[in-house]
Amino acid sequence: MKHIAIGILGAAALGFAASAASADTLSDVKAKGFVQCGVNTGLAGFSAPNDKGEWTGIDVDFCRAVAAAVFGDGTKVKFTGLSAKDRFTALQSGEVDILSRNTTWTINRDTALGLNFAGVTYYDGQGFMINSKKLPGVNSALQLSGAAICVQSGTTTELNLADYFKANKMEYNPVVFEKFEEANAAYDAGRCDAYTTDQSGLYAVRLQMASPNDHVVLPEIISKEPLGPSVRQGDDKWFDIVKWTYYALLDAEEAGVTQANVDEMKNSDNPDIKRLLGTEAETKIGTDLGVSNDWVVNIVKATGNYGEIFERNVGSGSPLKIARGINALWTKGGLQYGMPIR
């Protein structure tokens, strides 16, 4: 009896140790047949369910691109809505395979939290929004001394806010909520004078207000917020796949490969495009990465290139109408630079 019990316990211990600390996410993902992706519960343009109940947004499309790279099918992905507070624990514990939830890349998160950031899908910066009807005459964040400010807890936003007011020797009243929706509701109800988050987020929140035209985004940008997907440390293979999915999206845009013309482009004679789309003879680029050789074709078919994802979700094709700005390709004066696929 005793021996059996200990034997069972020992076996369970080994099993637990093996599963919890698994260092091979790619095999796990392939075994279960889908990519589990942690996203925001509702931030227009980044990840929010549309009127048909389907997830849409840049962060969501990035996960679809990873699924397309792994499975050749952008629909083999499941989404987990996470609050700012739960997101890192969810990734660390293996609940999600990728965290693609408008998360700022910082050194602390990269080191002490055990994450690896795969790239920057959106260069953002923190700003403020006020209700210009209630506060006429306020047109700079430097006039906000003494204001009550709604902010989401556990974000870099919360820290930047404290630093900014301290640096400018201003007072403020933080009203801190765990969930994005709660902070929005409190701001709309007039609990706070100003709302602060990443500027892209402010444009999205503005559209959710009872009367969007009353709200203005102040010009100051008080921080650098490079937002990107992250994975667990210690699994280089999976990290490579996520990282190169990001570069593939950028390189596809640079090469002019779009969702519409990708099949045509497969016949291209341009060696860059042939390498990108895996049509080169005896190519091993895809298989070395651990996916199929036509992985970029699959990605572009599923989501389009980076530019298409941007325009569809936050750019001219969306209600947000955010300009490419610093998120343009490096060839067009922006910061987005895809490493060469060769």
């Binding site: 602390n108 807890s153 301290k166 709660e182 109800a189």
Partner: protein, 395 residues
């Protein structure tokens, strides 16, 4: 000796296997060993997995700079203070809402509980309706009701509702003047202390006199006069060293004065009203649990119903009330962690922020458990002491 007799009576070979005492010990040893093994396995696994995932461990992070601000603080705190101090701010915020909530819930609970037994039809029905409503709604909904349904609907700062004594009510909370004491204020405090000491002495003497002679003395009125009068005397002697700082309209909010924020107000009101419904039922059960003969007995002695309730029924009812009351106090304390839904910076909310900034989930959760356990054990100890004091003394 009797043990030996039993041993001799049973055959030697079978004794170890069938001896209930030996079997008992063996099973307990096995159980303890399994438990220890299980705990060791969990701890070891956790440490190993954290190491493999490159996640920092240990409580050293508490010394790090917090970097975030907190709105409601009972002690001095800024973003330059440590995570440890931020946690203390959170613990104090939890404690203040728990203590004020417990006091208010007890008062409302006793009133409603007694109201349910009232002879007045209207009071009885109102108390029933109150209990049925609040007892059957989840506490989170009650909190959101107060926050979004009541306090958020108050006018904004520019149209604040003016209340007497320079206080204001708006959707940023309740503002009232701050008392600013100048030199000589110690005389007021000294007066208050003297008043309380004298009242205690008067009460003792009055009781002794009643025991000896049967004559009563108006202890309550005398004490009231002493406790109010002595500080006033000190106040006058020191030359009225008090000024008020009134809330003023600033650019955005009212500035100056004391601001009780809507987050605290709604949590406090919700927890009080919610728990009061349970306390009311406990109080009713306690009073109904006192045999009817006691009521008849005090009537026969010539006590009025109010006197009888106070001197005969309630002391006996308390013995039934206190033990379940303790669990309600513990529930209220634990329910205060729902504060996170409305942005009140209690222990759970601040701990959650720290967890997210540092990523040290296990350490922060351990702190949560230790603090809530500590608060609960303190409450239990106090209530057990109170229970022993109130329990029937067999003479």
């Amino acid at each position: 000796m009797s043990q030996e007799v039993i041993h001799e009576a049973t055959p030697q070979r079978a004794s170890l296997l069938y001896d209930p005492r030996v079997r008992g010990i063996v099973f307990q040893v096995v159980l303890v060993a399994l438990l220890a093994l299980g705990i060791w396995w969990i701890v070891d696994n956790t440490i190993e997995n954290l190491r493999r995932s490159h996640i920092a461990t240990g409580f050293g992070f508490l010394k790090g700079r917090a970097g975030f601000d907190i709105a409601n603080t009972l002690i001095d705190y800024s973003s330059d203070n440590s995570y440890g101090r931020a946690l203390v701010v959170g613990i104090l915020n939890t404690a203040i809402v728990a203590i004020t909530g417990i006091v208010t819930a007890t008062i409302i609970g006793f009133l409603v509980g007694i109201g349910r037994l009232s002879n007045n039809w209207l009071i009885r029905k109102l108390a029933t309706v109150y209990i049925e409503i609040f007892r059957n709604i989840p506490p989170l909904l009650v909190i959101l009701f107060w926050y979004q349904g009541v306090l958020a609907l108050l006018p904004n700062v520019r149209d604040s509702i003016g209340l007497p004594f320079g206080s204001f009510l708006n959707n940023r909370g309740f503002y009232f003047p701050r008392m600013v004491w100048s030199d000589g204020a110690w005389l007021v405090a000294a007066g208050l202390a003297a008043g309380i000491a004298l009242s205690w002495y008067v009460a003792r003497r009055a009781k002794a006199r009643q025991m000896a002679t049967g004559q009563q003395f108006p202890v309550f009125l005398t004490s009231l006069a002493l406790i109010v009068g002595m500080p006033l005397l000190g106040f006058a002697l020191a030359g009225f060293p008090l000024t008020f700082e009134f809330p003023q309209k600033g650019t955005f909010n009212l500035t100056g004065g004391v601001n009780v924020k809507p987050e605290f107000l709604s949590l406090y009101l919700a927890l009080s009203f919610y728990t009061a419904a349970f306390i009311a039922e406990i109080v009713r059960a306690g009073i109904v649990g006192v045999p009817k003969g006691q009521t008849e007995a005090f009537s026969a002695l010539g006590l009025r119903s109010g006197q009888g309730l106070r001197l005969v029924v309630i002391p006996q009812a308390m013995r039934i009330i206190i033990p379940p009351l303790t669990s309600q106090y513990l529930n209220l304390t634990k329910n205060s962690s729902l504060a996170v839904a409305i942005g009140y910076p209690d222990l759970y909310a601040i701990g959650g922020t720290i967890l997210n900034q540092t990523g040290q989930a296990i350490e922060v959760v351990v702190i949560f458990m230790v603090v809530y356990l500590g608060i609960s054990i303190l409450t239990s100890l106090f209530m057990n002491w109170f229970n022993t004091k109130m329990a029937l003394k067999e003479r």
